[in-house]
């Protein structure tokens, strides 16, 4: 097991090497976060909608994704779908992550939408708005606000899950740690170091989400 000072030394020595992977981890998380949120919102609306087969379709998607491991989904998308569409490495990884977290985000949004009092939909309708208009103008803005804390949580998960992209040759943080481990036979040092990277990013991100929540809470009485 490595000593504390050794870990610190190696951290400083390999710091430049980790910069590009760090960026890639951010890119992966950001791309899949945005796409995942869009997917999640679409399926949440589908699930609460009255479109024929809509709720069933949403259920099917959520069941399939929640019922299978992310690493399996990543490999299926990376090696399995290439004949249908060759997405390239970055987008295979991002899309796998997005499709994965989309299922959880859909449930977050659905919960938030259903937590808004029914009376608001009725009020909107009685004012002459269509159900879609009421959803867009009245319900969704409130629901989105309520979704912020669980969404933040989901993004933290996503950030950490992006480490699985190491297994499809993406050179992100964890992949760099594995490469340095294999090079130096000094595994524990680099696994501890990469843990620190993730921890720092998560702490920073947690702080951002908290700030955002406080900002949005200003309107509440």
């Amino acid at each position: 097991m490595p000593s504390f000072s050794h870990v610190v030394e190696e951290f400083i020595r390999t710091f430049p090497l980790f910069m590009k992977p760090l960026l890639l981890t951010f890119e992966l998380t950001f791309a899949s976060g945005v796409v995942g949120t869009v997917i999640g919102l679409l399926f949440a609306l589908l699930k609460v909608s009255r479109i024929p087969l809509g709720p069933m379709l949403a259920d099917l998607y959520i069941t399939l994704i929640r019922g299978t491991p992310l690493i399996v989904q990543i490999f299926v998308l990376y090696f399995g779908f290439y004949k249908v569409v060759d997405l390239g490495q970055f987008w295979s990884a991002s899309l796998a992550l997005a499709v994965h977290s989309g299922a959880y985000i859909a449930e977050i949004f659905r919960g938030a939408i259903q937590s808004i009092d029914k009376g608001q939909m009725e009020a909107g309708l009685s004012l002459g708005m269509s159900p879609a208009q009421t959803m867009r103008r009245i319900i969704l803005p409130q629901a989105l606000k309520r979704s912020i804390p669980p969404l933040g949580n989901q993004f933290i998960l996503l950030l950490k899950e992006s480490s699985l992209a190491a297994f499809i040759a993406m050179e992100e943080l964890f992949s760099m740690a594995r490469r340095l481990s294999a090079e130096t036979f000094d595994e524990m040092t680099f696994f501890l170091i990469v843990a620190v990277y993730y921890l720092v990013i998560v702490l920073f991100f947690t702080y951002l989400v908290k700030r955002l929540e406080q900002r949005l809470a200003k309107g509440d009485s």
């Binding site: 290439y82 481990s181 090079e183 036979f185």
Partner: protein, 278 residues
């Protein structure tokens, strides 16, 4: 604000404690260097292994391979088999030990040996200076060489052509090191076969791997081709924990016997139609 700083310092402290606590375990596993070698010379071939501490579990020979390196180690009908695995089985038999084949991702095998998780790695490790600093190696049990594979239609005819190309390799292999000498654009997978599959799908320009493994993949219909570009000839050895001379000597002795009575030849021909130790 103050509260947050407290949390941070607690976190840092716990990491420090963790690392410090772990540091003390460093010394174990290094003993038994001298005395082991003294006894091993007298005990010949498959004598009693009882009372010996050369394996992690008495009377059991735990040997590791990746299980993802056809035809050296792979699963056939759910059963781990392959050239490496059969060599390991034969070694166990000759040392009078019960064989216990296990698998682990290739990049973690050397560390597993160091930490005593396995007795030996019969995993097609090329004997290198770097690895010799971590573990001890048996006499070479076969010879091989890295080979450059590419896609049909790709014009790579020399190592120099690799510059600017994207090369996929299995993490922690000598082929990874070789490739890094020629290009920075390296993509790593957990196994050579996965890297070859990615090449087959056109995700990369080239793969460096063992010539035998690449040829098998071609036979299985992978859309890849051998470039004819060879790297230096490699000697493959069986790795054991540093200082475990007793086990090492027994392995070498068993290997020698296998060559003498033709068992090795038979095994090699079964998989490769030739003697790969030559």
């Amino acid at each position: 604000m103050k509260k947050k700083r407290n949390i941070l310092s607690v976190l840092l402290l716990s990491v420090a404690l963790l690392a410090a606590g772990c540091g003390s375990a460093e010394t174990s596993g290094n003993n038994g260097d001298g005395q082991a070698s003294a006894t091993s010379d007298t005990s010949s071939s498959a004598s009693s292994a009882a009372g010996s501490s050369m394996t992690r579990e008495e009377g059991v020979f735990t040997f590791v391979s990746s299980g993802e390196f056809q035809p050296f180690s792979y699963y056939k009908d759910g059963q781990l088999t392959g050239f490496d695995v059969e060599i390991g089985m034969e070694l166990a038999k000759r040392m009078g030990l019960k064989p216990n084949p296990v698998t682990a991702p290739f990049s973690g095998i050397i560390t597993g040996i160091k930490e005593g998780r396995y007795d030996a790695a019969v995993a097609s490790h090329t004997i290198t200076e770097e690895r010799l600093q971590q573990v001890d190696f048996s006499d070479p049990y076969y010879l091989s060489g890295g080979h450059l594979f590419t896609r049909p239609g790709e014009e790579i005819t020399s190592l120099e052509d690799l510059r600017g190309k994207e090369v996929a390799v299995a993490l922690g292999t000598v082929y990874e090191q070789l490739a890094r000498e020629y290009t920075d654009n390296i993509k790593t997978y957990d196994s050579d076969v996965t890297a070859l599959r990615a090449l087959d799908q056109g995700k990369h320009d080239a793969v460096v791997t063992d010539i035998i493994v690449g040829d098998i993949a071609i036979q299985q219909g992978f859309k890849i081709k051998a470039t004819g570009v060879k790297f230096t000839e490699d000697k493959q050895g069986i790795a054991v924990r540093k200082g475990n001379t007793e086990l090492l000597n027994k392995i070498n002795e068993a290997l020698r016997q296998m060559h003498e009575d033709g068992t090795y030849q038979k095994l090699s021909e079964k998989y490769f139609n030739r003697d790969i130790s030559k």
